[in-house]
Symmetry: C2
Subunit: 395 residues, 2 copies
């Protein structure tokens, strides 16, 4: 082969979300942009907090421009790392130092770097369905294999019997994504405690380290005072992959971090392997201006109230119309069970009503679609009659 | 192994440059910062052009903040890509479109993505010594092996006999870095023409595609009206890896691009493989604010006159003192042959005079040190007496 077959395959695969996007653009030309109800993209619709622009302007005015835009050390600016570790400690009563924090180009980079740091060829990573489809790509590109654990369908918490059966001597890591994309479900403290208990047992049984990777881009997007357990406090061998994409509405800026628990077995070596993996993948340092923005805005958050309003309107009305939805406690996704258990058919039929939702078979659960409600409230309200007509077709 | 051995090794290796940096900091405390002549780092010392900050402030004031910081498409904002392809066409008389341009997080990302797009396991990549040491890391992390071609020592142009001997049926790519880090040498048009001629022959001989990867972060840093041949105009199967780190003094911001020549064999597939490789490595998109900055500042450049002044002062004086230096036509490095042909010994001895230069054995040429003259002119001038004393030790 004249090029890398796997890279070509990954680059060539038609993305469902991309196709919906293209359809939406075409449809907008025909019926007007405001009559297309595009719920396909997880792109934050809430503005970044005003502190972001203010901080950028202040940095440009007051800092030496060579230093501001210059290389930071590979793991990141030491002041930024210190601010982040202090902040995590103050919120979660942990004892991180700046030497547990590695700044990254966002959550995808956090994951690819973490996986490459710990995985050896042929080892397995367990993800709980429904899961972000790129987990498979990232795991395979680090030489591992993804194993999918089926959830309890009534509440999408972990099905522990299924999970235990999926752990083997090949298991090196388990990925937890809570709040979850695409279901919006937050794992309860009970779930996390049980998960940690099983992992501790299995580590002893197989005489090996099993890492828990906490993929947490949606940590700050929770509603109704739901609390998201901080996994390091429940399990020692934990690596947190964080991103500011959603919490600060900066998805394009590619800024996040990896936090290696100081309680990890040989934590310092895991951290060094993270540094080495970042180097091998070509991540020289995270974007420097935004590292310095984070040092000032580490505790700022977008206003999630409009996401909550959207969720409430949709959940109430769609349920009344007869849709079966998983109640999302976080993130900005509504996971809808399709009336005929055929996600592709439903998504296709919804297009007639200019409703764009993502069929989720690839996320590891059959018969569901994902509705991303990070859009403006008017759009949500205007879509309701179409949702009503759509489900009536199935009655 | 409980973690990935190779990642641990890459993260653990003591970097010579890092150690020099630490030494310099310690020494500065003892003798004062201005008496330490740290020439170890390739961090631009010239300020970014004023247009950068002006453009950022204008974007923050005039653009919708959700769109400004939002995801762009994975290959990059289409307007930015169009501006770049048009600019390249106008300068080099090529016929690129936006669909030949893939925006990246800087040169290291451009290289890791390009290599992963084209390499299959066990294939070889040829680099010409002296070469940027990370080429080996990037090649191996994409599953390939680096093969080093020894240059003509009189002028550090390609030794074609050596080069031809290094090409085999396993060769998939050749990396050219001109202007060169660490020598500052620019390949002449004659060199490039001969290189292309040999590659064309070898492609026929082996019945396969051999890619030329042009690693061009120093393209705009050239002196005395030297022109840098644009490789796409000499060889069809060319992939250009560009970065704005040096040309706009933005090394920490991680912004650059890959340009796949439209004349490449199956150019569209190579581009798709680039997209797939970026995805596998976790590069979701290049930082969005700086993509939009580049769309406005694509033709802006830092003022290279101070680099040139530094080069001239050093080259003239060091040569007079008895040092043998390669004349750099570009970049901001001076490549010095050590008097006793022992780079490590020389670098160590230089520390006595608070001179920090990088021993370059790892760059593939024995007995040379690299002096990065991207520092202020006063520092250069003040270092001269120390350089004089240093060489006198060898007489």
């Amino acid at each position: 082969m004249e090029i890398n077959e796997k890279s070509l395959e990954l680059g060539s695969k038609r993305s469902v979300i991309r196709e919906l996007f293209e359809f939406g653009k075409k449809r907008a030309e025909e019926v007007g942009e405001k009559n297309v109800f595009d719920f396909s993209l997880g792109n934050p619709s809430v503005e970044p907090p005003k502190e972001i622009a203010e901080t950028i302007i202040s940095l440009l005015s007051n800092e030496n421009s060579v230093a501001l835009h210059g290389y930071t050390s590979a793991p990141g600016d030491i002041k930024t790392r210190k601010v982040i570790s202090d902040y995590i400690n103050s919120r979660f009563n942990t004892s991180l130092s700046e030497n547990n924090i590695y700044m990254t180009c966002g959550a995808a980079a956090s994951l690819t770097i973490s996986l490459r740091a710990i995985l050896n060829s042929g080892e397995e990573v367990i993800a709980f369905a429904p899961f972000f489809t790129e987990y498979r790509v990232f795991t395979e590109s680090a030489g591992g294999n993804l194993v999918v654990s089926t959830p309890r369908e009534e509440d999408f918490q972990i099905d522990f019997e299924d999970f235990e059966g999926k752990i083997s001597e090949k298991t090196r890591a388990v990925i937890v994504n809570s709040p979850n994309n695409p279901s919006g479900v937050v794992y309860s403290e009970e779930t996390i405690k049980k998960l940690a208990e099983i992992l501790n047992q299995k580590e002893i049984e197989y005489g090996k380290t099993i890492y828990l990777i906490a993929d947490e881009p949606y940590r700050e997007l929770v509603y109704d005072n739901i609390s998201v357990p901080f996994l390091m406090n429940y399990y020692k061998n934990t690596i947190v992959c964080y991103s500011y994409s959603k919490s600060l509405s900066l998805p394009g800026e590619r800024i996040g971090y990896i936090a290696v628990s100081p309680d990890c077995k040989k934590s310092d070596k895991v951290y060094l392997a993270v540094c080495g993996a970042g180097r091998a993948l070509g991540y020289v340092c995270a974007p420097s201006l935004f590292q310095k923005v984070i040092a000032k805005c580490y505790n700022v958050k977008v206003d999630v109230s409009s996401y909550k309003e959207n969720r409430d309107i949709l959940l109430k009305n769609l349920t009344e119309f007869g849709y079966k939805c998983v109640k999302p406690d976080g993130a900005f996704y509504l996971f809808i069970k399709t009336p005929n258990f055929d996600a592709n058919e439903f998504s296709e039929r919804a297009k007639k009503y200019n409703i764009l939702v993502v069929p989720c078979d690839d996320f590891g659960v059959k018969g569901y679609v994902r509705l991303a409600y990070c859009v403006d409230k008017e759009r949500i309200k205007n879509s309701l009659p179409s949702f009503k007509k759509l489900i009536e077709e199935y009655k």
